[in-house]
Amino acid sequence: MAIRRGRGVAAINYPTGMNLGGDPTQALVHSTPTGNFMVTLSSVDLGQGMKQIMAQICAETIGVPTDRVIIDTADTDTGPHCMGTFASRGTHRAGNAVIQAAKEARQVMLEVAAEELEVNASDLETDGEGNIKVKGAPQKSISIFDVALSAHFKRGRSISGRGMFLIPRSYPEKETGAMKPSTCYAHACTVAEVEVDDETGEVTVLAVKNVFEIGRALNPKMVEQQLVGGSWMGISHALYETTEPYYPNRDHGGTDFNQYLMPGPGDLAKTEIIVLERPSADGPFGAKGPGEMCANPQIPAVANAVFDAVGVRIDTLPITPERILRALRAQAAS
């Protein structure tokens, strides 16, 4: 009887969005009288940071700091349609809608600035700090604060824009299954190191090294949040979680956090995250959806590592001590 070590690898890809159902999201952007920008949506923030990312996307597109953007979302009396937050679609679909709306608003803003500065709008650029300047002559500039005031009180313009992102629905061909299920794919490769106690069947995940390719890390700290949390959930799925431990038997299902098991703060694997960025052709600033795929590769990587450690295959999830012990006994008997 001994503690045995093993490691395993898995590589995966994951689709962004749900083309097979139709996938629309809309956004509206308008400026306040003093040049702050309101983004109106009906998208839902589940905790992944939808509001923050939409603010950064709008700010980058208009050319203002993020703290000048306000997100008003998920009120159906004001927000235009969003299909919902699922299928790793939120940042990609809503982000594209916000970009389109913000571009339209930016164009009006530049036109008003052009009138104030008596130049062509195409000669103007934003400095990202709240000012609009003439290209090549930065001393000739106007603040976005003053542009918004002018638009509202002097020139009678609405600095606003409408955005829409729609991937047309793909219908699978009946006989061949030809279809376009997604527009872009995120990627990952995970190496897991485990220890397995061959007396108790208990598995300890010592370390996971996760490499994720996500198109573009729009906010690297928030990407890290999702990837670390997702990696934890993947390990949890691999070893602990189920509502029916003896599926298809319906008995013994957990009804609280004492019975439904997940790793606690004392059970964490050493987690390494490496991010690559290959911008997607149609993502907002190249972003893909990382939220779901980040919890997938740990599961097979852990399963393969368990085999590497003790030489038995557990092909049923979760990989519980009971399943490992039964497999070890069967192996010893044969």
Partner: protein, 160 residues
């Protein structure tokens, strides 16, 4: 149903309410007094989202009867920032990106506060132990552990 009077201080302010006998402190705080910072994640003492501090002790408000808290000094996350200024613990949660959906956060902060009040320089194991009754489904815990350790360092620097 007979009502019983309860009187306690909440984050330094006196509060008095009549509640049905058997009412939990969580229910009294949220639905009677209007402090919604403790969250009801399970109502059975297994998630820690409802954690509050009663006379210096960490308590699950969903398993604490309001009528047992007469004359108690009750502290919640809503009362932590003084004069609108975040405490180092709250600041550390922000800086460490230790919140995602935020639902577990007030309970985590209460658990961490009791730890730091008693153990100003905790080890990682101390932090893990202190947070072990609080469930988080988003973060994988590591950022929360780091936030508490960072807050402890900030506290000891302020004290020095």
């Amino acid at each position: 149903m007979a009502k019983v009077p309860v009187q306690f201080t909440l984050n330094g302010s006196e509060k008095a309410e009549f509640v049905e006998s058997g009412t939990t402190l969580l229910h009294a705080l949220r639905d009677k007094i209007g402090d919604t910072s403790p969250k009801g994640g399970c109502h059975q003492g297994t998630c820690g989202a409802c954690s509050v501090i009663v006379d210096g002790e960490l308590r699950l408000s969903c398993l604490t009867l309001a009528e047992t808290c007469s004359d108690a000094d009750i502290r919640t996350t809503a009362g932590l920032a003084e004069g609108g200024v975040l405490q180092p613990l709250q600041r550390a949660f922000l800086d460490a990106f230790a919140t995602q959906c935020g639902f577990c956060t007030p309970g985590m902060i209460m658990a961490a506060k009791v730890l730091l009040d008693r153990t100003p320089n905790p080890s990682r194991e101390d932090v893990v132990e202190a947070l072990s009754g609080n469930i988080c489904r988003c973060t994988g815990y590591e950022p929360i552990i780091q936030a508490v350790l960072t807050a402890a360092r900030a506290n000891s620097q302020n004290a020095a």
